[in-house]
Each structure stands twice: as C-alpha cells, then as structure tokens.
Amino acid sequence: MSKQHGPTIVRDRIHAPTRRDVLRTGAAAALSAFTPRRSRAGQPVRPNFLFIICDQLHFEALSSYGNSFVRTPNLDRLVRRGTSFLQSHSPNPICCPARSCLMTGRMSSETSVTINGLEQVKEFGLPPTAVRFNRGEIIPSIPDMGQWFQQQGYETVYCGKWHLPTNWAPNELPGFTVLPVGGGEGAIVDPTIARATGAYLQTRSGPDPFLFVSSLMQPHDICYFAIYDEALTPKDLPSSELEKLLPPLPPNHLSRPRAPQILDRAIYTRFSELQWRFYLYNYYRQVEMLDATVGRILDALESSPHADNTLVIFTSDHGEGAARHLHVQKWYPYDEALKVPLIVFCPRRFESDYRDHHHLVSGVDIISTMCDYAGVPAPPHARGFSLRPLLEGKNVDWRDFVAAEVQVVGRVIRTAQYKYVRYKDDPVEQFFDMQADPWETQNLYADSRFASVINDHRKLLEDWESRLIVF
C-alpha cells in the first residue's frame, strides 16, 4: 500500500487531542467538571437526566455547525453550552432498531428489533429470513433504560414517540410512567410533548432523581414530502420568492458508488433537481420546528428547580438522506443516515462549547454514560462506553471503531479513517476512505492497494459480531 492512502493498521488506539489538550491551548471555552452536589447527609445527590430524542435529524442540520440554510437558535444554545460529539453514529439508522439500541445499550440484533415492520421486507427486498430476526419489541430479558433506572431508585417518565413497536408510547410501558400525549405528526404533536415535558419539569416534586425521556417527532414529517411528492413537493415552485431560498444540492447528490443490491435499489428517483432542493428547503423548515420545541423544553428546564442537577442528552435516532446519494429518509450505511447529532450538557454545572471531532461514539454509549453519572452499573452486556471521561476532558484510550447494523443483514465498521460495509450474502462490499473522501463517492473495495486494510476491517467485524448475544 502506498503511503498516500494512509495507515494499514486500524487497531491502534485513537490518540486524538483531548479536550484538556484543547483547553491548554486556549481554544475552548471554560469548562467545569461535573461535581456531584451533596445531600445534607453528605451523600452525593444523583443527577437527573433529561433525554431528548428527535427523529431523523441530519448531523449537519444545525446553524451552529455551519449550515447557513437553517436557523436553529435553540439547538445552537445546546451546542454552545455542551459538548457536541461530531463523530456520533446511530447503532442502526432505522427508527425502531435505533430506538431499541438507545433504550438498552445493546445492538439491534440483540434486542431483536431489526426492522420497522414486516412491510420493509418486501419494500427493500430483504431476505425472507429477515423476519426471523425481528421480534418487533425488545426481548424481555434485556432491561430498557426505564426498567434499569427504576431499579436504581429513579422516577422514570416517558413522553412522546416510542416505536417499539407501537409508534406512540402506550399508556403503560414497563419501567416508565408514561405521560400520554398521543401521537401524530411532528408539527402537531411536538408542541404538546414540549408542554407536557415543561409541565413535569416545572411542577414535579419528590425526593428521587428522575429520568425523563422527551421523544420528539420532528423533523420526521419530511418523510411525507417524498411519499406525497406531487402535493407537498410539486414540480413547480409555489412562488418565485422561494427560488432564492432553496439550498444547493450536496456534491454527492448523484453519486452512486458500487453498492450491495439492497442498498443499490434504495434510491429515490421521482424528483427533479428543483424538487430535490425544495425537499431540502422543507426539511430545514421542519428542523426549525424541532428547534422551537427544544427551546421550549430548555426554557422550562432552566427556570425549574432542577436546572443545575440535570444532565441533558440530545440526539436523534438516525439521520436523513438529505439528497445525498439520491437518498431521502434513512435506511443507509452512508453518513447522511448513519451519523447523528449528540450533545450533552448540564445547565450551570457542566458547560462548555466543545466539539469533539475525533472520538467515535454511538447511541449505545448513552445509557452507559447515564449509569456512570448516576453511580450505578451499566446493564449487563451493554455495548457502549461511558462518555463521561470525554465530557470531563480526561485523556483516555478510546475505542478503535464503532459498529452499526442496517437492514437486518447490513453491517458497518467505522474506524478513524475508513468505513467498511458488508451485507450478508452480497458479494459487493463497500470501503470508503472517510478522510480523503468524506462524501463517500469512491468505493475502494476492489482496489488491490486496500486489500490488507479491508481485510483488517473484515476481521474487526467478525470479531465484533462473534461477541454479540443474538437470540
């Protein structure tokens, strides 16, 4: 392998600059480490958790991340006050499986939630055996976040989208008290979720710490702009006023690197260039709706008695195609669907404006992080790492790679430089140099110069898979 194609070894620990390094150079805002408050008896007061999950938020759809086609003052407020993990990955870029991972810290093949529904088998041409691996709800032997924290003495409350498998949290969930706000589209239901969340934060009382999951729907409404394209994304713009406001298409819009069959079929071809741009325009407006909702929740938290002892975690179940690789929605191992925003902060106690560009993190890390701060063990076989050392600027060895699953038979290994994708029984693999080709346009799997490093990634995958407990 020639030197210009980077290292041949992928097993090295990542020695990315830590936040401490950055602070030393004065490049980051002030940071105070999380010091638990103490009760009158001298015991540390366990923090509350406000876990805000949104649906289908693209990892670059925040104005503070440099996107000038969307205005997100409230998400930017989160960014300014917290730590953004810019290499954060969905464990499975599909709603139900991703949520099962967020809720348990386990991979979707372990939770047995691998697809959104059986219609997906036909829609995407999944092998019929795929059905066997999808129970549709988390298998009972794996505790979800609510059950786990309830056992640890937390008041655990859920509000909003559930999708395991029912779309909206039923009135009763194991491990959670549900604030039933019902269901519907994000534009309608998110403000209600925000108000219910705010009412809880403002008026709840009780001695126990709480875990509140506020699960928002937006910007998922964009899905319907592809489904009902003639009505919602018409061929002609409704106003010339709009034309100057439309975002440009991404540079990999038409890129179609060689791909496994399931992936190759999953492109969207009904839009003209103008419609694609109008689709993006509408997507960003829905991100702004999400932003307003998040602002209401933050306002309620920050004026509540819990403001200085609540760890806020914000993420999305998966990303959005956003016109990259001719994609709408999710379902793909490409970054547009796989990467998600992840921001963590604690008002007035644990604040910074730090962007971690280096550490590979995953949605399965969230429950481990919460457990670490709560001072309780992570659930058995949890696959994630606690983000606490990274949040507190400690210099730790971090994972070499992050893994994801997709469409039942798809697997992804992402290392610092490369991304490896394999769909079971499909001879076409994918291999991208994410540093040289961040838009994922050149599939290098057949390039003999990468044979060795690709093989290393295959072994990483095989080793990782062999450690999963799949029922």
Binding site: R71, T177, P180, V189, E241, Q286
Partner: protein, 253 residues
C-alpha cells in the same frame, strides 16, 4: 400546497357545501374548522384529527378579540386543548397585542405529581413582548411587523387579491418567533372540474413561506372567507355547517 394538495381530500370535499350569504371579514363571525392530515393511513378518507373554533368580536376602539378553542384529538391519548383569547390590532396583520391561553395535556390519571395545565399570558408593550408561562417569564424584542398563527386566520380574509405586494413579518408560533415570513397572493382556482363531484367553488390562495414553517396556503372564497388552510401535512377545512356570520354569540362551546 398547490391545488393538487386539495385533490388528496377529494372524498371529503365531494359533498362540501361552501358557506353562502353575506360575510364581513371585519365583522363578527364564528368559524369552525376540522383538522385533517395527509399521513399514511389517513388518505383517502381521513379521520378528523382536531377541531378549531375561532370567533372574531370587533372592538369599538378598533381591532378585534379572537376567542380560540382548539382541540387536537390524539390518536391514543384523548384530547389536548387550547383555550385562548387574543386581542388584535385593527391592522393588516391583525397584530396580536395581548393574549391569555390555557393548554391542557390529556394525561389520564397517573401517579406523577405534576400539572396537566399550562397557563400563558402575554402583553406587547414598547417593542417588547412580555410572556409568562407558568413560572417562566420571557421577553421578546418585537419586530415592527409580526403576527401569530391564530391571528392569520383573521388577517388573510382581508388581503388584497392579485397585484397586492407581498407582506413581510415575523410569525409568533405560540411563543417562538419565526422571522422572515412572506405572505403573497398565490393563485385563483376553480375547483369545479378538478374531480367528479367537486364543489362549484372558486378559491383564491395566499402563500406563506418563512423560517420554521413549511409553505402553507390559505384558500379564501370570493367573499374573503377562509375555507381551507393547507399547512405541511395538515389541512384545516371550514365546517360548512357552521354559520358564517353571526349577529351575536353567547358563550364559547
């Protein structure tokens, strides 16, 4: 947003009887709308997802009071409500200058000690909007031109038809300011021949675009009465059975 959007609701609109009689957009009126959506399973015969009752009461000093009763019928958890009274200026945008609102979440009995209800009040004064939501107090600097979602139900009925200049403003989506809004005449459409059984009806569309809101079209009839609001996935349809203009209204239902 284009009129093709309304085609999705052709089954609902087949028997639609447009309101008749005189209508004064600046007078005293009461409208009832049904809310539908275009999501999976709701088309072609969508169930009602909510209702809006909005009453305009002109004030002697100019402007009007809007009494709003919005109920969102949740799929799984009862009804969420908004009861609001909005005092609007007598200007082009029906600029809201003061309001009170109560939101309720339809949370059945549960063991949590928390409130199901949120009260909000707001007053605009000297370029600042002072909002109180429960214990939360906010101050928003007001732009020179602003209005709210609910006030637009009133304002669009008095807009000029083709040739009118675009109106630019900030939208208050409840308490969230959404700048760079434009409201502009869109098109006039005869629905009659669009599908079998379509109502004999000519409607005029006004398009709204801007931050934090997907393009939406307000469709008014020849008299200016707002019949349909198409907003992203949501469609408000005026209940033609409701009286268009009232001499007096006692109480709010």
């Amino acid at each position: 947003m284009p009129v093709e959007y309304l085609d999705l609701f052709r089954d609902l609109l087949r028997d639609y009887h447009p309101p008749i009689g005189a209508f004064d957009p600046s007078g005293h009126w009461l409208h009832r709308y049904r809310l539908y959506t275009v999501v999976n399973g709701d088309i072609p015969v969508p169930p009602v997802r909510g209702t809006l009752r909005i009453e305009r009461v002109p004030q002697a000093a100019g402007g009007a009071t809007l009494n709003i009763n919005y109920e969102k019928t949740s799929r799984y958890a009862g009804v969420h409500t908004l009861l609001a009274t909005v005092v609007c200026a007598g200007d082009e945008l029906s600029t809201p200058v003061k309001w009170t609102a109560t939101y309720t979440a339809a949370a059945p009995a549960h063991p949590l000690k928390m409130s199901r209800e949120q009260n909000e009040s707001a007053v605009a004064s000297d370029g600042t909007l002072n909002i109180k939501q429960g214990k939360v107090q906010k101050k928003l600097a007001l732009p020179s031109a602003y209005t709210s979602n609910w006030a637009l139900f009133d304002a669009v009925q008095r807009l000029a038809r083709p040739g009118g200049a675009p109106i630019r403003f900030t939208l208050l989506d409840d308490d969230a300011p959404k700048p760079d809004q434009v409201l502009v005449f869109y098109e006039t459409v005869d629905l009659k021949d669009r599908w079998p059984g379509a109502p004999t009806l000519r409607v005029h569309g006004f398009l709204q675009i801007g931050d934090g809101t997907t393009p939406q079209v307000y469709w008014v009839d020849d008299r200016g009465e707002l019949l349909f609001l198409v907003s992203g996935l949501n469609v408000f349809i005026l209940d033609a059975a409701a009286p268009a203009a009232l001499v007096s209204i006692s109480g709010r239902s």
